[in-house]
Homo-oligomer: 286 residues x 2
């Protein structure tokens, strides 16, 4: 971290609104390595302060939005990046401080819809206050899935058929503001993600396979993941990681296909090695 902090100063001041997981850490590190002044706002207890030793770091509850805005104003920060997982909050759970009350009407509207609608509301809120909202991929493009197979294995012809249908399905679901993932096996769509999340969807298919209700052939069974058409990749880039790979392997599926350039994969080498070891393909598809 101190090594990163020693990068040539760029004059940029960036706030990282950090949710759960490794991505906020990696993005903060990439920004610091590029010479930016990095301020890490740990959002809603999702991130671990220990991960940000050496960074200027402050925890905020969602209801402390007003306080956060005052702080970045004080620091003359004009760029923010929101990264890492946050459970979708309910509007009622925001518990606003006095400094935040005046912003509630904006969020009351933003909560009247799917996740996409909520995130658009969050982006428009910050942009309306003169902040530039960056995507994690703009700061750390190495975190995003490249085109082609990540490891040694490639999708079988059977899996390629599933991948084509899967991306077609995800595109058709785009306008409904759900579903960034689906699972295909045995020439059909066997699971579609909605509020339960990708992990729970993979578990469901694993259970169907264990119960003998699905019997994917060798080389068959694929998790497809892609952003919605028109999705704002600055604040809502789908992600896969070691957990995803482990779950897909445990379920008995053959691999994972993601939209190249549009899905976070974290440490590319680590994920490729894990896929090779598990006998899975991970494919970035154009």
């Amino acid at each position: 971290m101190t090594g990163d902090a020693a990068a040539a100063p760029s004059g940029r001041r960036i706030a990282v609104l950090a949710g759960r997981g490794e991505y906020p850490v990696r993005v903060a590190r990439a920004a610091a390595a590029q010479g930016a002044d990095v301020f890490v706002a740990l959002v809603a207890d999702a991130g671990d302060p220990a991960d940000y030793a050496g960074y200027d770091c402050q925890p905020y509850r969602l209801g402390q939005l007003g306080r956060f805005l005052e702080e970045i104003k004080r620091r003359q920060i004009d760029e923010i990046v929101m990264v890492g997982a946050l459970p979708r909050p309910s509007f009622g759970s925001l518990a606003p401080e006095l400094s935040t009350l005046k912003y509630l009407p904006h969020f009351a509207r933003a909560f009247q819809g799917g996740d996409d609608h909520l995130l658009r509301g969050v982006v428009s809120f910050f942009e309306g206050r003169g902040l530039r909202v960056l995507g994690p991929a703009e700061i750390a493009p190495e975190l995003v899935a490249p085109l082609g197979p990540l490891g040694r294995l490639k999708p079988s012809a059977l899996a390629q058929g599933g991948i084509a249908t899967g991306f077609d399905l995800l595109a058709a679901l785009s306008r409904f503001d759900i579903g960034q993932a689906a699972i295909l096996a045995d020439h059909r769509i066997v699971a579609v993600e909605a509020a339960e999340g990708t992990d729970a969807m993979i578990e469901r298919v694993a259970a169907l396979i264990k119960a003998g209700r699905l019997k994917p052939a060798k080389g068959d069974g694929v998790l497809v993941k892609a952003p919605k058409l028109g999705q704002d990749l600055r604040v809502d880039m789908p992600a896969i990681g070691p957990d995803t790979v482990a779950r897909v392997a445990d379920a008995g599926l053959a691999g994972i296909a993601v939209r190249a350039g549009s899905v976070l994969i974290g440490d590319r080498e680590r994920l490729a090695a894990q896929a090779d070891l598990a006998g899975l393909f991970i494919a970035g598809v154009a």
Copy 2:
């Protein structure tokens, strides 16, 4: 049953291919009440012979298709109705008898796709042998959801919004040969059905609600169910029943909306009474 058998003979000879549940029993009874000669083929151990006391009834494994065809030829039966639930078999589990081997190539193709594709293959198989395939609703239209609320309660404005989105979603999913059901709550789609089936999907949403990850407001939360566009209602009519109503009530949802005229509901009065008791709406929507 003997009362049914005493109906004026119509000269019609109908084979009821009976799967699990009450519908085959009701359809057999309606056909007999109309004076038809009814032959009940219990398919793959799904039906209970005790339910068909007084009927001419014979069990068949799927691999005994050839034997079944010989029997209906012998009986000069020219109309069949397939009704009741069957678990989707795997092609490998068919265990064909000698009399059935010659039909395997047809079914090998039919198995290369979703349920819809498989059912189309089954229909075309019987039609190709000169049989008329009837839908259960053609024999017993009283089993199908009428237009409007079934019981006392009507969908709230919130639920009506969900219903509109839900039917729109199901229409968009039609060409993918999945999903005859979805659940909407809190202004969004929270679950989409694929291979797991409607019951498992309702259970999933019940678990999300119990875990506090979804908090539908009063009057909110709706299961929508409709056939796919172009679905062959003769062999694949969606159905809801007392189990569905009980699960939806347990989950804490406000009601159920089905496409009027296209979804089996069994005993209308019983379902309406159950919905009233549980405080749910059941709405047939045009």
